[in-house]
Each structure stands twice: as C-alpha cells, then as structure tokens.
C-alpha cells in the first residue's frame, strides 16, 4: 500500500510582478522517494521547489508538509522547519567561503543548537560517507567544484532531513563529477529514508529519480517515468 504523501502542493500559483511563474501546479512527494522536476528554463520548477520548501509563499493554492499547511505558518515556524526537516543543495555559492568544509557541514546542526564538538563529529562522519574527508579542514575555495558540491550534499544531509531539495545540484559540474554527486546524494538519502526533490533540466540526472514530473508554463503537465 503506498504510504501517505509527505509533501503536497495543491493548485499552487505564484507570480513575480507580471510574470506568472506557477499556474496551479499540483504534486505529491512521498517519504523516501526521489522526485525529479524537469522542464525548460522558466517553466516554474525552481519556483515550485521554493514553494514546497517554504522559502516562498504561494499567491494561491496550498502546500502542506505532513498534513500541516506551510502557507499558514509564520516565517519563524517555516525557518524552524527548514532547519530541522529539510536540507538544501544548490548549484552555486552555497558554501560559506570563510568557514572550513567541516564547519560548513556542521552549520545547520549548530543553528539548531547542537554543541560544536558533536556537530563537527557528525559532520566528519558525513564527509567520510560523501568521500570528501580530505577537504574537511580546507575552505570551499580550496576544494574542487565536485568536492564542494559533495560537501554541500553532506550539509544537506547532516540534520537527517525528511526532504532534501536539490536545485540543479550538478549544473556547474562536468558529467563525471555530476554523476558522482548524484550517486552519493541518492544513496545517502535512501540510507536515511530522506525524500529528494530534484530540479534539473538534464535527462541524465533526472534518471536518478524514482519519478519525474515535467513542467511547462508553470504547471505540472506530465507525470511519467515511475521507476
């Protein structure tokens, strides 16, 4: 029997000025699944990811997480949810350049109030798991692009989130590094039972997903490729 959905978007619309980015998009994310949102640039997939993660409030429609309406939550409550239940991986500029890679990974735990030593111990475990322990003491600028992205994946996983939102996580990497990041991201998420919502325009990256939803003109138009 399929489990009940973890995240639900129901008729979500969002505009930026006169540009309508989302137009009544609906979808569901189930626990532990890897869902790819695909589509051309400007189709609204990143905007939906931001609405699902509570970063953006939709103009209309509803987003719920474990049955709780995100749109009804205060900014503080949504921030707390993002700290504890969600993890994020972006394409660019996501690691704090002044902190070491280890400190970057430990940052979400420290923001959640975990003691520094414990947070860094946990971060080190993840760096080992993501095969980048050699850059633990280095700053992001001293790591390669692939290593930096794996550090970002480690940071997204460090709080054992229920959902990881990955917005074009391999967009700045070559194919070999991109494949490696995706392999590690999906494997580590599966180990922890975390769902992954992945935004990509690359079919090769989307192939890592359990399910793919295509976007066009701000709405989920096709649901296909349930693997």
């Amino acid at each position: 029997m399929p489990s009940s959905p973890l995240l639900v978007a129901d008729g979500v619309s969002k505009s930026f000025g006169i540009t309508r980015a989302l137009n009544g998009a609906s979808l569901q994310v189930r626990p532990g699944e890897v869902l790819a949102l695909t589509g051309p640039s400007g189709s609204g997939k990143s905007t939906l990811l931001h609405c699902l993660s509570g970063i953006l409030a939709p103009d209309s429609g509803r987003v719920s997480f474990e049955g709780r309406d995100l749109t009804a939550m205060s900014d503080r409550e949504r921030s707390a949810l993002r700290r504890g239940a969600f993890g994020f991986v972006f394409q660019f500029g996501q690691l704090v350049p002044e902190l070491t890679c280890l400190e970057n990974v430990a940052l979400p735990l420290r923001l959640a109030g975990v003691r520094r030593s414990r947070a860094e111990r946990r971060a080190a475990e993840l760096l080992v798991r993501l095969e980048v322990v050699e850059v633990a003491g280095k700053r992001p600028g001293q790591a390669s692009g692939g290593q930096g992205q794996r550090v970002a994946v480690a940071r997204a996983l460090v709080t054992d989130p229920q959902v990881i939102f990955a917005d074009e996580p391999t967009g700045a990497l070559d194919s070999r590094n991109g494949e490696q990041v995706m392999r590690l991201l999906v494997a580590a998420a599966k180990e922890r039972g975390s769902a992954v919502v992945l935004v990509t325009h690359e079919a090769r990256i989307a192939s890592y997903a359990d399910r793919e939803v295509s976007f066009r003109d701000g709405a989920a138009v096709v649901a296909e490729g349930v693997r």
């Binding site: 931001h50 953006l56 921030s79 504890g84 969600f86 350049p97 002044e98």
Partner: protein, 759 residues
C-alpha cells in the same frame, strides 16, 4: 601613449559610464565619496589663504605707532571689550583730534560724537531680542555698518564709537594711522593645535578618498574578468581599469568642486565667530589646488592598480590571492617610529616663537605618528582575529569572515581610527590648556560679578553701581601692605568682608575678625612670623592705618587659580582694625550681588561700566565659559569630530551595503536552510564592531601618546583626558551600532529567494 593605450583607457571609461543602473550607482558612489573628500581637501587647501586674509585685515586695523603730539592728523583710540550675554563684543572708542585724523578701515567716515559704527553681527545683536539694553551701552546711535575690510570675519562682533571726552588718561593711544604694526605672536599651543588639527583633518580625508575609489571594486573585477574572456591580456586589463578609475576620480573632482562651493558658505557655522571666514577668503592655495587636481586622479589609479595586484583576474572569474597572506609588522613600525624620533627632541619644550622648521618637524612627527594607526591597524586586526575562535554561529561567521578577508573592514575603520587618534590628541591638549587657564572658579551663589578698577580712580563707582537696575549689593575689595622695614617690599594682604574673601579662596569658616594665610599655587608667598606685629599701610606710604599682630596658627587657604594677583594674607577689616568701608587702603575691585529675577542685570552693569570706565575689566563668577582662544579651538575640534564621524559613518555604511550586495546569494542560501535573522544580524555587527574596537584601541594608544608628547612639548602637565576618551569610545560604539542597524533593512531584503535562482 600609443593609440592602443588610449583606446583601452577610453574603453575603461565607457565601461564605467555604460554599466546600466548598477554601474551608474557605483560611479555615483565613487563620485560622491571622492567629491566629499576633495571638497574637504579644498577647504584645507584654502585654510592658509583664509587665515592670511583674516590676519591681514586684523593687522590693517591695528593701531599704528603712538605719536606724542596732538595734531590735525591724530586720533585718540581706546580698544575695549565687553560682552553681551555669551558674545564677546570688541571695539574702539575714537576721538579725532583734527580734521585729517585717519578713519578706521571699513568705516566710511570718522564716527562723530555719539555715532556708532557696527559690524553686521553686532547690528543683528542690537536688533535682536533684548538688544535695546546693548544699544544703550555706548549712549550712541547706529550711524553705519563696518565694511568687510574692517572686520576679521563675517561673524565678528565689533564697533567703533565716536567720543568727545576720550583722553590719554583713559588709556587711549594717540595715533596717526592704522595698520603697519607687527603681527601678534601666536601662543605656541595654538600653533601646535593648528598644525595637528590640519594633520588630523588631512589623514582621514585621504583614507576616505582611497576607500571611495574602490567602491564596487568586486563588480568591476568581475567585469574585467569578462573582458579577459574575450581576449584582453593582463596589461590591457590594467589599462582598462585605469580608465575606469580615472573617470571616477575626475567626476569626484567635479563633485568636490561643488562640495567646496557649498562648504565655503557653510564652514562658518562650525567655527566660532572669531574664526569664521568670508566665503571669498576661502581660495585654495594654487600649489595645493594643483596638487589636489593631479594627485587625486593619480592616487585613484595607483590604489586601483595596487588592489588589482592582489587579485588575479582570470577569464573565468576573479581569483583573490590575498586571503590568508600573513601581514608583516616590521615595516609598519617605521612611520610611527620616525614620528616619535621627530617629536622626541621637542619633549623638553617648544621655543617661545615657533619657527617654520619647528612647525614642519611637529607636523611631520604628528602625521607620521598618526600614519602609524593606518599602517598598524591591518596587522593588528589580523593578529587579533587570528586568535579568536569558538563562540556562537554568529560569532563564528563574523570572525571567519574577518580571518579570511579583513582588508575591506580595515579600509573603512582606518578613517575612524585616525580621526579618533587625532581628536584624542587635540582634546587632551585642549583640556589641559583650558584647565591651566581656567582652573577652579569662585562660587557665584552670593556675589555674581566683579569689576576691577585696574588702577583707575574708582571714586563714584560704588554709588553708580549700587544705582544700576538689578544690582542688589556692592562690596568693596582692597589690599594693603604689611611692612616693617620701609626699604623692603611689603607683604600683601587682601581685605574685605567674609563674602568678599570667599570669592578669593574657599574658606573653612569666616567671621568678622578672622584672617587667613593665602597660598597661591606656583608662587612662594612671603609670610611674617607668627606673633610679629606689623604696621598696615594703605594708600599713604608714610602713615600706617593700623598695626596687626600676626596670629599663630592662621588657617592656610588656597587662592582660586583664576586669581591672578598673589596675596600672602586674606583678612576681614576687623582683623586688621580697619574701617568697614576700607577707607585708606587700595581699592581695586567692586564685587556685585545681582538680582536673579533680572537676567539682564549684568548687561545693565556693563552699560554702567562702559559709561564709567570702558576699559575696566568685568568678570562673572561661576562663568564656565572659557574666555580665551582655547574655547574657540575646542568648538572647532568638537565640530570637526562630529562632522568626521558622520562622514566616516556614512562611508562605513556604504562599505557594509557593498559587502552585503556582494554576498546576496550566500545570504539567501543561509536563509534557505533556516538561519535566523538575528544570527546574521549579529554576525554583521561582529564584522563591523571587532575591527572598530581594535581600531579604537590603537587610536586611543597612539592618540594618547601623541597627546602626551604635545603636552610635554608645550610644557603642560602630562595627563590623559579620560572624559574625552570615554566620549569618543561611546560615540564610536554608537556609530558601529547605528551603521549595523542601518545595514539591516538591506540584509533582510537580501534574505529572499530570488537570489537563489540559478537558471
């Protein structure tokens, strides 16, 4: 210069002016920043001209050489000073002795008897509220206005009044011309203040200009990287950057010209009336103007190229090289060390007339010592933040940012640090000078004012003063001599009732019949042995008024430092067996009790005294106002301090804004995974406050050292002005919090998802 060079320079200019909204904003910021700095530099460059013009007019109106014989071309002139409320009112009473007597400069014709020529500022005082009391002072009507050539500045309160009774016995000088006298020598302390003041003003402006030319440097570096991508080599890139820097500097010069024109009109507001210049006096010295016009663009190019040396601009982006470069200390000690070496020989005291060589030595020493703040601060901030760690996430984010790149923060803090160091040095010198010239003051509870006869015949003064509206009491103060040997100088005794004596020294208790031994700081008072009996002499050298047996165990009291005439004893009339009205002894002062319900009572007294003896000094007890040039200097220092801190606060805010904009994407990412606003706000505060605190510490250290050196050079007691240091610390702390708070709206706006879009 080849055509290719020129083309690349022009390309830099074109890139600057065609950068769209953000490019224009950056250019506007640079032009505004450089313009503010250039405006201040032009004011400084005009200061020598303004001072020279002011001194020239003062010299032109100085009384010429005295002549013995009255003639058709001679004039009697008496220089007087009075006050109206807080304003000193200076002027001259004149009486021509013939029809060819010289008219004072700025006055259309010789004032006739009962005619008053006033400066515009005095005319405004007379026309203002309560001015009718002042109008009565000279028993004259306003017949005209003194033109600018007869005034030191537009706000000077000055007058000429015609008299029909003035004689040389009143202290008037007989002259045949105005001007031609030697310029008055300036107090060495004032010279030191002026030299250090100029240095203190100059350095932060230079720091600010070099900071301003680098506004938005990171976006420019990205732009240059894009140009590298299409084939520009590193030399071409530098020339393009030069063109970009030049256009900013040139626009800054233009804006600076406008700022200067504005400051020319407004600078007088900051200065005390005696120092305010006519706008036309403020003309930059040509050599300094040329230096500014050449050095600002050249400096902008040098700063830009020097900054580019520390980054590698690659076709695919900018690679910073300077992140963890350890700064060296040794060469940073050279400027302050050289400053100390130059100032050290002055520790023993300045010569009476501070010559050009000493001025240069002093200025160079002070500038080098203050430069120590600028060159030591980057090293010190790096050394301090390297040792910091642990703490909350906000602390960690702030500290690590500083550990990786403290350059930007230090650039903005340098301006504060130099200003604070200079202001501490000046305030220290001023406070000591003011303390030395004011000291502890007599109380004003029972008697509020004193009129000195200054050797004039005071007959009738007591009655005239007693009949002045608002005067409740007139007490006489006099002195006599205790002299046993007619060939020896006597020992002086001040005589007056207890209320009078209390105005000379704080007394433990006093009743009629009491006497006291007076101690005058810095003067060894001659005294008589206890039990000795001595005659008391007054105006008659031959006939003693009484005899006094010096009591044993007389209480010693310390005279107020404002009391210029040293005395050995204070005594009530009964103690010396003198008449209560002090008849027979020298009367040198009348002390007045004023009706507190009549605030203009003192103005009425001044009117009476102007009629009786216009040159007789009048002093208010308990008057905190410092009636000398240091008060003006303090006002200037405080005005400049406020102006500079606002100036620097604004530049720090621009810096914070720029940094936040550069980090917009990272901030949005941090917000995405739940970082709270307060964490990022605190991190921002630490990034501003830590370098500012280190800068303040260094500024206090160097400012206090400079203050100590200057005090020693002027032979004043070396004491730190902790009140000024505390005030500066509080001001800087307030500014840091204000700058952080002003940056928060932008920070919160940047914590938005739009920055996360990667498509």
């Amino acid at each position: 210069m080849s055509a290719a060079w020129l083309r690349e320079l022009v390309l830099g200019v074109r890139l600057s002016v065609s950068g769209g909204r953000s490019g224009w904003l950056r250019l506007a910021l640079i032009a505004a920043g450089v313009g503010l700095g250039v405006g201040m530099l032009l004011v400084l460059a005009a200061a020598p001209t303004a001072v020279a013009a002011r001194e020239q007019r003062r010299a032109d109106r100085a009384l010429g050489a005295s002549v013995e014989q009255a003639g058709p071309g001679t004039l009697l002139a008496l220089t007087t000073e009075t006050r109206f409320r807080d304003e000193p009112v200076r002027g001259r009473i004149v009486r021509p002795e013939g029809d060819r007597a010289p008219a004072p400069p700025g006055v259309a014709r010789m004032p006739a008897v009962g005619e008053l020529y006033v400066s515009p500022a005095l005319a405004a005082l007379i026309a203002g509220p309560g001015g009718e009391v002042l109008a009565q002072r000279w028993s004259a009507h306003v017949a005209g206005t003194i033109a600018p050539q007869g005034l030191s500045g537009p706000d000077e309160v000055y007058f000429y009044v015609g008299s029909g009774t003035l004689t040389t016995d009143d202290g008037a000088a007989r002259i045949a011309s105005f001007g031609g006298g030697s310029p008055p020598t300036t107090d060495p302390t004032i010279v030191v203040l002026a030299v250090i003041g100029a240095a203190v003003l100059l350095l932060p402006v230079l720091v600010f200009v070099t900071t301003a030319v680098r506004f938005g440097s990171e976006s420019r570096e990205r732009q240059l990287a894009a140009i590298r991508l299409v084939g520009a080599d590193s030399r071409m890139t530098r020339r393009i950057a030069t063109g970009d820097a030049l256009i900013g500097a040139v626009l800054g010069l233009a804006v600076g010209g406008l700022v200067f024109l504005g400051l020319r009109r407004g600078v007088g507001v900051l200065l005390p009336a005696d120092f305010s210049p006519y706008p036309s006096d403020l003309r930059p010295v040509p050599a300094l103007l040329a230096a500014i016009l050449l050095l600002v663009p050249a400096g902008a190019v040098l700063v830009t190229l020097s900054a580019l040396r520390r980054v590698v601009i690659e076709p695919l982006g900018v690679v910073r090289q300077s992140g963890v470069r350890r700064r060296r200390l040794w060469w940073r000690l050279i400027p302050p060390g050289a400053g100390v070496a130059l100032l050290y020989p002055l520790l023993g005291g300045l010569p009476g007339d501070v010559g050009a060589g000493t001025r240069v030595q002093l200025a160079a020493g002070a500038i080098l010592l203050l430069t120590g703040v600028v060159v030591l601060l980057p090293w010190l901030v790096q050394a301090v933040v390297r040792r910091l760690g642990g703490g909350s996430v906000a602390w960690q984010l702030g500290i690590r940012r500083l550990q990786l790149d403290s350059d930007t923060a230090v650039r903005f803090v340098s301006g504060i640090a130099v200003s604070v160091a200079g202001i501490i040095a000046i305030q220290g010198l001023l406070s000591t000078s003011i303390a030395a010239t004011s000291g502890n003051q007599p109380p004003a509870d029972r008697l509020q004012a004193v009129v000195y006869t200054n050797g004039a015949d005071g007959t009738g003064w007591q009655a005239a003063l007693a009949g002045t509206p608002g005067v409740e009491a007139v007490r006489t103060s006099g002195y006599g001599y205790l002299r046993t040997d007619p060939d020896q100088p006597g020992v002086t005794v001040r005589v007056g009732d207890c209320d009078v004596l209390r105005q000379y020294a704080p007394l433990p208790s006093c009743a009629d019949g009491d006497s006291f031994q007076a101690v005058h700081p810095g003067w060894e008072s001659p005294t008589l042995p206890a039990g000795a009996t001595t005659p008391v002499f007054g105006t008659d050298d031959a006939a003693p008024l009484s005899h006094w047996q010096v009591p044993a165990g007389l209480p010693a009291v310390t005279l107020y430092t404002s009391e210029a005439a040293p005395m050995s004893y204070l005594a009530t009339p009964a103690a010396l067996k003198l008449r209560p009205d002090l008849r027979g002894i020298f009367t040198d002062a009348y002390l007045l009790g004023l009706d507190p319900s009549r605030p203009d009572a003192i103005e009425q007294v001044r009117n009476t005294m102007t009629r009786l003896a216009p040159a007789a000094p009048l002093q208010l007890f308990g008057d905190e106002r410092i009636g000398n040039q240091f008060a003006g200097a303090r006002q200037v220092a405080q005005g400049c301090a406020v102006l500079f801190l606002l100036f620097i606060g604004a530049s720090m805010l621009v810096g914070v804004t720029e940094q936040l904009r550069e980090r917009r994407r990272l901030l949005a990412v941090l917000a995405a995974f739940g970082t709270q606003r307060r964490t990022l706000s605190a991190s921002l505060l630490y990034q501003v406050a830590i370098p500012a605190s280190v800068g303040l510490l260094l500024a206090v250290l160097i400012g206090s050292s400079l203050s100590a050196v200057l005090l020693a050079a002027t032979e004043a007691p070396v004491e730190l002005d902790w009140a000024a240091i505390a005030a500066m610390t509080a001001t800087v702390a307030t500014m840091v919090v204000a700058v952080t708070a002003a940056g928060l709206p932008l920070l919160f706006r940047l914590l938005k998802v739009q920055e996360l879009r990667s498509e």
